[in-house]
């Protein structure tokens, strides 16, 4: 994209958004900044879920529509463990590990045999998500579960302008940023990360250079699924867990990666911020049309940049 065109887009979308933001600040300063911070914390959660989704797609070309189920199952398992040993941190670890294990089993026992058949894999993930949702409903019932995190993170912190804000949400934001950097470090600096990036670019060449590609696939799937389970516990702590959350976070992951660009972790971060902030502003300023904002962002991106903002045309 030439600089001219880029500036055109920046002005086209930037000016109205800036004008609305100025109006929002003048109208009600506190509401505006609280909404912005809420949007960022929601974006943090969306990034945690969507980064795993996009990582798996980028390498394996597997649109894992059971990603939401991994989120939900991870959350439930984290809840069970956290409840029984009375340690929230162990619950978080359990959510991550169990979802990672589930992802590993799925990749090794199902998806590996359908490699290259995108549509069939996707339909298998749909079937698995139906089964997982029903089993979760069977075991944990339809009621809402809430976590019991340690007392020091459940309080509130006083911030300038906004006033009191949930400490836990600030920690969630910090965690997502930390995980984002961790993921970047893992992909950019470690040997396995290099293998994953090489696999994204050209799987055949990676295999030809003597790497055990199936191993790399399995590791990637486990990490992606584990991130979903991790997000399940930390997200479930911020909000709550109940049946139906799986489709909610699947939708979030889908929109985030469509907007940000499939297979790009940076794109997932950008998409998560856009979608999360838009959703919170929608809820605050136009409650019954909140979802429309998310949808408009997706439609605009698809209309003008089908591969996503940071997606590559390859």
């Amino acid at each position: 994209m030439t600089p001219m065109r880029r500036w055109f887009w920046v002005w086209l979308f930037g000016l109205p958004i800036a004008a609305l933001a100025v109006w929002g600040i003048v109208d009600n300063e506190r509401l505006f900044f609280t909404t912005a911070l809420n949007g960022l914390t929601l974006a943090a959660l969306y990034f945690l879920v969507a980064s795993g989704f996009t990582l798996v797609f980028g390498l394996l070309r597997n649109v894992n529509l059971a990603h939401g189920s991994l989120y939900l199952i991870g959350a439930y398992v984290g809840w069970v463990v956290g409840d029984s040993v009375d340690s929230w941190f162990l619950g978080v670890a359990a959510g991550f590990l169990f979802a990672a294990l589930m992802g590993l089993v799925l990749q090794v026992s199902v998806f590996r045999y359908m490699h290259g058949q995108d549509l069939r894999q996707t339909m298998a993930t749909i079937a698995l998500s139906i089964i997982a949702a029903d089993i979760a409903l069977w075991i944990w019932g339809g009621q809402i579960h809430t976590f019991d995190p340690p007392r020091w993170i459940t309080g509130s912190t006083t911030l300038p302008i906004i006033g009191k804000f949930s400490t836990y949400r600030l920690i969630l934001l910090a965690t997502a940023v930390a995980i984002g950097f961790g993921l970047w470090w893992f992909l950019a600096r470690t040997r396995v990360g290099m293998m994953i990036r090489a696999g994204v670019d050209d799987r055949a060449m990676l295999a030809a250079s003597g790497i055990n590609v199936q191993m790399v696939f399995a590791i990637t799937f486990a990490i992606g699924a584990g991130l979903a389970g991790f997000a399940g516990v930390v997200g479930g702590t911020a909000l709550s867990i109940s049946p139906g959350e799986d489709t909610r976070y699947l939708l979030a992951s889908l929109v985030v990666v469509i907007v940000g660009g499939m297979g790009s972790v940076t794109g997932a971060a950008l998409g998560a911020v856009l979608v999360g902030v838009a959703e919170q502003f929608g809820l605050a300023y136009a409650p019954t049309y909140g979802i429309v904002f998310t949808f408009v962002i997706m439609a605009v991106v698809l209309a003008f940049r089908p591969q996503g903002i940071l997606g590559r045309r390859a």
Partner: protein, 393 residues
């Protein structure tokens, strides 16, 4: 350009990659016959197309509601025909256009909501109470328009992206309908949306409803049968198999794909109007994720090789839905349908029609010895190529 892309660009022989893994599956009609039949279709006598089995099936579906209890006529027959009609739109789009859209139920839901909002419902504060014929026309127009828009958005990418984008659009519509009270009446939706009493017949009664659904199901079936032999349908299948080659021949792949979405939207809208009359109500869940996926299950269960597939799938689906109680707990219907779907996807990607033709081939081989030659690429497969955005060169 990577090696894989180069191979694809240079690939002049095998064009459509069968999503079932390239298994050369037997197809009822070979491409040469299809191509030869269309120009001479007018010259051939109707009798050559109609066999004993067609007449037998037609007679069976016509007398069916008179020989079974009303429950079977309405809950099984009526529902299967209605769901089959909506799934038929997906079969057309996916089987002949190569675009697996999950938003067909959303299109049906939009048509259903228009019927409830403009027509008569149990929520007179929102419903406008317009005459039924105007409402139906507007509902079908709105559904078709929405489908065209969805198509226009999603044809910009192809392959695996289509399923994601249409899923996201459908889910977004569900959340909109659930959040919004001014137009969609939120979580409760609309109750008491009944079919009109026309010609002195209450179309809500089991037998009249069955015939109403049967009429539109047959209309949809023959419409799709006609369309896939018409120039548009042939061109659409060409676009499915190799969009680049078709565009080199002067066809516009994008225009054909969007038109396919519009046609499928028309079929789904008719099904949506019938469905809201069948249920007598519409709620966000009527067009929610589980129903979007159920339509996919119905279409895949029956098989996407032939327009009769979705109706077979719908019958099996409805029977499972009603009698899974006896097999296992009623609450566990989703588990049963999920497992059935998984088994179909893993072991019989062509659905029940695939099993049927496999069985028939096996029987034929037993009678006549081995077949002379294996057929080449299956021209009716859902030709989903490797996922990539449109417009790359």
């Amino acid at each position: 350009m990577s090696a894989a892309q180069w191979r694809k660009a240079m690939n002049f022989t095998a064009t459509s990659r069968n999503w079932s893994g390239g298994r050369p599956a037997p197809s009822p009609a070979s491409p040469s016959r299809a191509a030869a039949a269309s120009p001479t279709a007018n010259g051939r006598h109707l009798r050559e197309y109609i066999g004993v089995r067609h007449i037998a099936v037609l007679a069976a579906v016509l007398i069916y509601p008179w020989i079974v209890p009303p429950f079977f006529a309405y809950q099984i027959g009526g529902q299967a025909l209605t769901l089959g009609l909506i799934a038929l739109s997906l079969t057309f789009l996916a089987g002949y256009g190569g675009m697996l859209s999950l938003a067909q139920m959303t299109v049906a839901g939009i048509a259903g909501y228009v019927v409830a909002i403009l027509g008569v419902s149990g929520t007179p504060e929102i419903s406008l109470g317009w005459p039924w014929w105007l409402v139906v026309v507007l509902a079908i127009a709105a559904g078709t328009f929405a489908a065209t828009l969805i198509g226009w958005l999603s044809v910009r990418t192809e392959g695996i992206y289509t399923i994601m984008i249409t899923l996201a659009i459908g889910m977004a519509f569900f959340y909109l309908a659930q959040q919004n009270y001014a137009i969609f009446n939120g979580f409760q939706g609309f109750q008491k949306v009944v079919p009109p009493v026309v010609l002195g017949i209450d179309w809500r009664d089991p037998v009249p409803y069955y015939y109403l659904a049967l009429f539109w199901a047959l209309a949809g079936y023959f419409f799709v049968k006609y369309l896939i032999r018409a120039p548009f349908g042939i061109a659409l299948q060409g676009v499915r198999d190799n969009a680049r080659r078709m565009s080199a021949l002067g066809f516009s792949p994008v225009a054909h794909r969007v038109a396919a979405y519009a046609v499928a939207g028309l079929i789904a809208s008719v099904g949506g109007v019938l469905l809201v009359w069948y249920n007598g109500l519409i709620t966000p869940n009527s067009a929610g994720t589980s129903w979007m996926i159920n339509i996919l299950i119905v279409a895949v269960l029956g098989g996407m090789r032939h327009p009769v597939g979705p109706f077979i799938g719908a019958v099996v689906f409805v029977l499972l839905q009603n009698f899974a109680i006896d097999l296992i707990d009623r609450e566990r219907f989703n588990l049963v349908i999920g497992l059935v779907f998984l088994v179909i996807v893993l072991f019989s990607p062509d659905g029940l029609l695939g099993w049927w033709s496999g069985l028939r081939d096996w029987a034929m081989r037993r009678m006549t010895g081995p077949r002379p030659a294996a057929r080449g690429n299956d021209w009716r497969s859902v030709g989903v190529q490797q996922a990539r955005p449109v417009g790359r060169s």
